[in-house]
């Protein structure tokens, strides 16, 4: 039993942490968000240079050979800075599909350019009717000569506007909600028949509604197994859950600490509001929720890293906790900042929005409470 990081891990964490402290102040972030892509191209190039884009990839592809623990560490630090660069979409999700399910050809062709920062990916899996069921698919890929023809509508595709390629979940056999008969395709985002309607999301991220009209792909574009894509999808989504939950842990740390600091400075009725016991106890509960979240983050990351059968259960436990804690910490931080908490001028509201976004991504707390009970 050991909560210590390896030397290599510590170095990585330090380097991400330094970056956030030096380059991700509130004003910096505003500039990044205002750039054309909705994030800083310069930052992305630096991530590439520092090797962060290669963290989860095998060393043979030029990667760092990291796993769940490294993803956890990076995302927790990113959460502290509310990093808007699409690390989740491109590296954790898109990259996850390539490294876990990609063919040798796909890996050789794409991973190096991803690591170099030249490839943007997005994961197109949400369907309007499917809610959080990854297997509820009306997007179809129909065999068509040597290849397949994809038609359907994918919603809220994060990083959709910037993606060069889309990882698309489709139904190739069976009924709408069957667990089998699902296939994952890699689709060129600019292919004929792909249409994107782009928009901002509540957390200043980038999303798209993507429609596919008879988009032609070849059998070589399949990631993972034909008709048996669900286990791969679930595995990548579990990695994604760890990533966003780690981000939430970082965000909550900033929120509770910021609130405590604010409460020491802000005076009302001639005393700092942090001297009021009712507020003190709420800040203590924010602190406790953060600590408990961090504990489950460690547990889930270690379970994933060791490939345990309990990993999925730990992941769902973590998501439930993040749902509950993120809501409490976010709402209280806004409330305790009073009028100022309601404005875009303080960072508090932005953390709150990011936590709100995370709470619905990959299934909300109710969904994962139910999944936890069934696992």
């Amino acid at each position: 039993m050991d909560f210590n990081l390896s030397e290599e891990q510590t170095m990585l964490q330090d380097s991400v942490s330094r970056f956030i402290q030096n380059s991700y102040g509130f004003e910096d972030r505003k500039k990044y968000v205002a750039e054309d892509q909705g994030f800083s191209a310069k930052n992305w190039a630096m991530f590439a240079e520092l090797g962060w884009l290669g963290i989860p990839f095998a060393e043979e592809h030029g990667g760092f050979g990291g796993g769940a623990l490294e993803t956890m560490m990076v995302m927790e630090e990113f959460g502290k800075g509310l990093v808007v660069e699409p690390y989740l979409a491109t590296v954790v999700l898109g990259g996850g599909f390539l490294s876990k399910g990609g063919t040798a050809a796909q890996q050789e062709q794409l991973i190096p350019s991803l690591i170099e920062g030249k490839l943007q990916l997005a994961f197109a899996y949400v369907e309007p009717q499917g809610r959080f069921n990854l297997a509820d698919l009306t997007t179809t890929a129909t065999a068509n000569g040597d290849g397949f023809s994809i038609s359907g509508h994918k919603g809220v595709v994060l990083n959709g506007p910037n993606a060069d390629k889309l990882v698309v979940t489709t139904r190739t056999a069976g009924d709408q909600r069957d667990e089998s008969g699902i296939t994952v395709f890699l689709v060129d985002a600019n292919a004929d028949g792909v249409n994107r309607r782009n928009y901002a999301t509540i957390d200043a991220g980038q999303g798209s509604e993507v429609t596919f009209s008879n988009v032609q792909v070849s059998a070589d574009d399949i990631i993972g197994e034909l008709n048996n894509g669900l286990p791969l999808i679930q595995s990548v989504v579990d990695d994604g859950l760890l990533a966003i939950c780690s981000e939430a842990v970082g965000a909550m740390e900033v929120l509770y600490k910021t609130t405590v600091e604010y409460s020491k400075q802000r005076k009302q009725f001639d005393v700092p509001i942090g001297s009021f016991q009712a507020l003190q106890h709420r800040m203590v509960d924010m602190f406790i929720e953060h600590e408990q979240s961090k504990s489950l983050m460690f547990l889930a990351a270690m379970r994933l890293a060791e490939g345990s059968n309990d990993a999925a259960k730990a992941i769902s436990a973590l998501k439930v906790q993040i749902g509950k804690a993120g809501r409490y910490v976010g709402q209280q931080a806004v409330q305790l900042h009073g009028g100022m908490g309601q404005t875009e001028e303080l960072n508090v509201g932005h953390y709150f929005k990011r936590l709100t976004m995370i709470s619905h991504t990959f299934g909300n707390a109710d969904f994962h409470l139910n999944r936890f009970g069934e696992l």
Partner: protein, 407 residues
Amino acid sequence: MDLNFSAEDIAFRDEVRAFLKDNWTDQDRKDMGNGLSMAHDMPVRWHRRLAEQGWAAPNWPLELGGCPWTPTQKYIFDIECANANCPRLISFGLNLVAPVLYTFGNKEQQDKYLPDILSAKTWWCQGYSEPGAGSDLAGLSTRAELSEDGTHYVVNGQKTWTSTARYADMIFCLVRTDPTAKIKQQGISFLLIDMKTPGITVKPISTLDGQQHVNDTFFDNVKVPVENRIGEENMGWTYAKLLLTHERTGIAGVARSKNRLEELKVAASTEPTGTGQAPLIDEPSFRAKVSQIEIDLMALEITDLRTLAGVQKGGAPGPESSILKVRGTEIQQAIAELFMDCAGYYSQPFVQDTHWGDYEGEMIGADYSTSTALQYFSTRPATVYGGSSEVQRNIISKAVLGLSKLG
């Protein structure tokens, strides 16, 4: 004991309904958009129609344009308007400065300002809060110095959270006229200030919901005629305070929350769950949350009616009416949150155009889902503004339970 309305009250209700049917059309409702009552110019449009009918200011004294309604009838009027999805009237003129004017203002002031408030000709905003004076309103520091010749005040300082300041013709302010007063509630005066006076600058504040309804308002050597002071110098706190516990009608927002909850049920009954089975409304944990809010709201409605019955017997509502603010806003927030839950992924896109009723393009997700996040973010301030939940609990603690301040 009887919850039913009297025959007279039912006749009144029918009269209101008939009026609403003719004057608040389906097109008006559509223009309101997804429950976004602050949208565009809807409150102004509605205020003018009510003013024509003589119903814009039910609470005012009869002779000034009020309505000869009982508290129950006022309550019925509120409910019917909420049920018809009418916008809330902007209250700064009608319900906030007007009572101060007709209670403490002189005849000249009353004649000058009240008719234009009633007819929606002039618009007012409120200058109470300051950056250093939020929950602790009496901690304000905007300074007003009387000129040597005694003809005007010179005002310097900053007010914040001034809603609609950019559209307002007038602002009513609490300002400090005696900085040496021993108790901070003393030494405060109540001034009416023309927003066009030189030295006033308004700077919008962006809030979480992406809107810019509130502002910072700066005063730089602003000259205010001494006749724009209400009542005596240094007595402004008393005037403002006395009105704070009045006019609590509708503070619980029961009728509006009930409407929202019904809309939520409709939305959730069309929302699939990915199981191929029942819609979201029939999913046990979601349904339980809806039922719980519905029950909280039933309770609050009766608590509201009990307060009303107390008022009907005579007198202003007591400090226990803080319950209405505390629970009413909690319920509004809970409904907004459930709407987010209902929309799931489609709570995440944030496209301002699609929020408004006049948007004609294609929607993202279901019609209702587009504004769920905006609504969620814009209900957050409900527990901060107008006396935060913490302050309301302090009021109940002290005034109802008799518990003393910290020792």
